[in-house]
Structure formats: structure tokens, C-alpha cells
Amino acid sequence: MSQHVPMHEGLFTWPSRKPQLLGSRCNQCSEASFPAQPDCRNCGSRDTDIVELGDRGTLWTWTIQTFMPKQPYHSDETAETFRPYGVGYVEMPGGVRVEARLQANSPEDLQIGMPMQLDIIPFRTEENGEQKMTFSFSPVMET
């Protein structure tokens, strides 16, 4: 069985049954940042803690990446297998807008203000069989 490893440590809780995005919050000015950083980009304080930013948010803006990016883009895709992907900023309850890939890739499926949910998805497979996982958002399906 392949091993699921985050693209980068500290972006989201992992492994987890209900993964949460991780960021940092300043103890001086309360502003949040994603990804977590040791210093506050608002007030310059170094008094910050790692916090969970949540797993649901609201779509603030979006676009669709229609062409396969050049390096440093590094997925498993080829020019033939590349599928356009959505990109957006999602407003998180933790108080910050996070840029992310979106599972939806058609303009009809994306609207500013729509509720979004976090998905941790396999992004590429390494030569040793490891699956690199990244964060993504998809529209919340009404039930």
C-alpha cells in the first residue's frame, strides 16, 4: 500500500480523519497567516502560535488554469493528460484568505461567495511509491 505524505509539513493536520488547514496567529495583534510563519507580517512580532484555520470557507475569488504551467510545476501530468484546474482564494473562519487549487474547473461551477470545503487530495506519486498529498477546496454539496 502506498504511503500518503503531505507536499510540505505543516500545511494541514495529517494524518487525520477530518484534516484542518494550519496557519499561525500572532499573540500581539491576533492576525492570522497561511502557511504558518514564526513572525507576524502585520506587526513584526515573533510571538506567534500555530493554529487550525478550519476546513470550510467561502470562495472570495477564482480563476481557471487552462494551460499546464512550466517548471516549477511538478505533477504527474503530461501535456496530453493535463486537466485544467481551478484556483481561488477561500476566506477561512480562522480570519485569513487562503490561495488553493479548486476541484471544480468549469466557470459554471464556481461563484464568488459560495461555501467551500477542504479536501486533501493525492497530487503526485514519487518514484519510491509515496503519494504526495496537497490541499484543495471543492464546492459544498447541499444534502
Binding site: M7, H8, L11, G23, E31, S33, F34, P35, R41, N42, W60, T61, W62, T63, I64, Q65, T66, F67, P69, K70, Q71, P72, Y73, H74, S75, Y85, V87, G88, Y89, E91, G95, V96, R97, V98, E99, A100, R101, P107, I112, F123, T134
Partner: protein, 380 residues
Amino acid sequence: MDVAIIGIGLHRFGRSPDMTGMQQGASAVRAALTDAGLSWQDMQFAYGGSQDAGNADALVNELGLTGLQFTNIWNGCATGGSSLHAAYSAIKSGEYDVGVVVGFDKHPRGAFNPQPKEWGLDDWYGETGLMLTTQFFALKTQRYMHDHGITEDALIRVSEKAFNNGSLTPTAWRQQAFSYEEIANSAMVSHPLRKYMFCSPAEGGAALIICNADKAHQYSTNPLFLKAAAVRTRHYGSFEVFAPSQAMTVADAPTVTASNAAFEVAGIGPEDIDVIQLQDTDSGTEIMHMAENGFCDHGEQEKLLREGATGINGRMPINTDGGCLANGEPVGASGLRQVYEVCVQLRGEGGARQVPNQPKVGYTHVYGAPGISGVNIITK
């Protein structure tokens, strides 16, 4: 102490397959020196920059090893604005009387591919496909249209104007005008921006000879004056390129703060400007930059574009040479190409694209990653 521009030079933007980027920079410097009636040996200092075509100070190998102070500048797409600001400061300080500002570049075909580490970011950001300038401008434009009631009509009209102006500009890379329908039907690249709404990385060079204004008439019969040069970076809360996250609070963009600073130094306002150059890497950014530079209110752009206000014969001519859209963007040179064009207009040498009624005051604005703006105000 005031600063004068006494020579302007351009190496045509586009593709020069037989020349390196640096040779294109040297070509622009030689053209500017000829325009000023000066020689390289007269230059006391130089500031220059390039993204992909080598260190600017290596130009001395082509132009002459005269021992002058030559400082390389790198500030993303705002490199030209920052180089000119540095030269402006060198003259203002009284240290030097005359020098040169140069920018040049030669990029591979296709979109830029910035590397995360050079911008203080981790590899995952680039590897997962989030670090594209085209994406950012699309994301910012999409939100701006939502907030201010701008429609696709405005995006199309910016491109229509740019390529029309390019068709009137002998030095422009893109010389073909496109119809409204051709632009509207071009392929969607990054929603809401289509193929003919984006500029392309290109090649070219631009150079300016600047001097202490007290001595300008010794050198030139038609000097222009750099009344203000300002460069600003982003505040916490402004929505800028290469940002894995942004704050919920809202702050003025660096364009707003640079523009305000330049107008304050010059002692004039947007209503006093006769000819304008705004960073237009895509048609959405020209629309946003119209308001961020104080030339209209947010949301007013659609009406202004429909009225033709930003055309060559309009009341606020913007990007009279076709801007980045028609000239492409050799990063190091682009901000100086803007100044070159404003100087051409103020001298009345614009030919088929000349703004009528003898424009007297010009304005240039360049924007670069990761949130830098440079503004210049130039007068007769």
C-alpha cells in the same frame, strides 16, 4: 535640485533573434546617447536591470570600460521604475550631474516561471501550480469586476485600444489591430482573461540619459523634467501577487501609495496629466490601475472606456504606444519603455499616435512582483 531627461533610446521590443538581451540594452544606450548628443565617456553613473539577460553592469564590455559607477537594480517587473528612481536620487543628491538608466531583457517564449525560493516561498507553492502571474491578475480582476460592476466589455475595449495604438506605433511589437469580436472570441486563458487580453514576455531595451536640470540646456534644446519619481512596496492587507494567503483587512495597493507620493512631490493632481502610461500586463490590470492611480473612481472605468476617454484622442490617453499588450514585456526594459513613450509624446514626436493639443505633463506607472509600484511624473 530638479532632474532633466535629455536623451531617450529604444531597442525595438519583440524578438531580435540575432542579438543577446545585453546587446539590445547596449543598442538602447547608444540610441539614447545619440539622441542626447553625448558619448558613453560623458556618463558619470549608470543604473540598470534585467531579469533573464545578465547583469546590467556587464554592458561596460560593450560600451566602454570607463570606470563609471554602475549599479544593478532588480525589483521584479518594477525594475525600470526602480532604476529610474535610483538615478533620480543620485542627481537630486548632488553627487552626479549626468548619467544613464538602462533596462533590457530576453525571455524564453511562454509564460514566466518564477521560482518560489527567490520570492521567500516554499517549493510546494510552485510545484502545485499556484505561482503564476497570469493567475494572480485573473484572480484580482475577477474580484474587482464583482466588487465594482465591471463587465467583460471593459476588458475587451482595453485590448482593442492597445492593439489599435500598437498598429500606429512603428516600434511596437504587435502591429496588428484586432476587432472587438476577435478579442471577445479569443481563447480563455485564465478566467476572465482571454488570449488577446494578456501581454507576452518579449525582448528589447530602453535607456534614458538624465542630468541635473540646471545644466540641461548645456546638453539639450528640448529637455524634459522628471518632476517626481516614487517607488513603494505593499502594506499588510493589499492583495498582491505571489501571496499564499492574504489578510481580511484591506489596505491601499502600493500603486495607490506610490501615486499619492509622486503627485505630492510634483505638487499636481491626476487632473493635470495629459498623457498616461499604466502597467497593462493584461487588460484587467489596466482597468484597476486607472483607479489605483487616481484617474477615476472604482467602477467608473467601464463608462470611460465606452466613451473612448482613454484613447489617443480622449481626455485621458492611456498607453498611447499600445502598452505592454502591444509591446510585450521584457521585464528589465518595460518601465523605461513607458517613460520613453511619454517623452516622445511630450516632444510632439508621436506621429500617427500623437496625442493632440501639445501634451505638457505625462505620467508613468509600473507594477511588479511581489507588490511594488513605481510612478514617474514628467513635464515639458
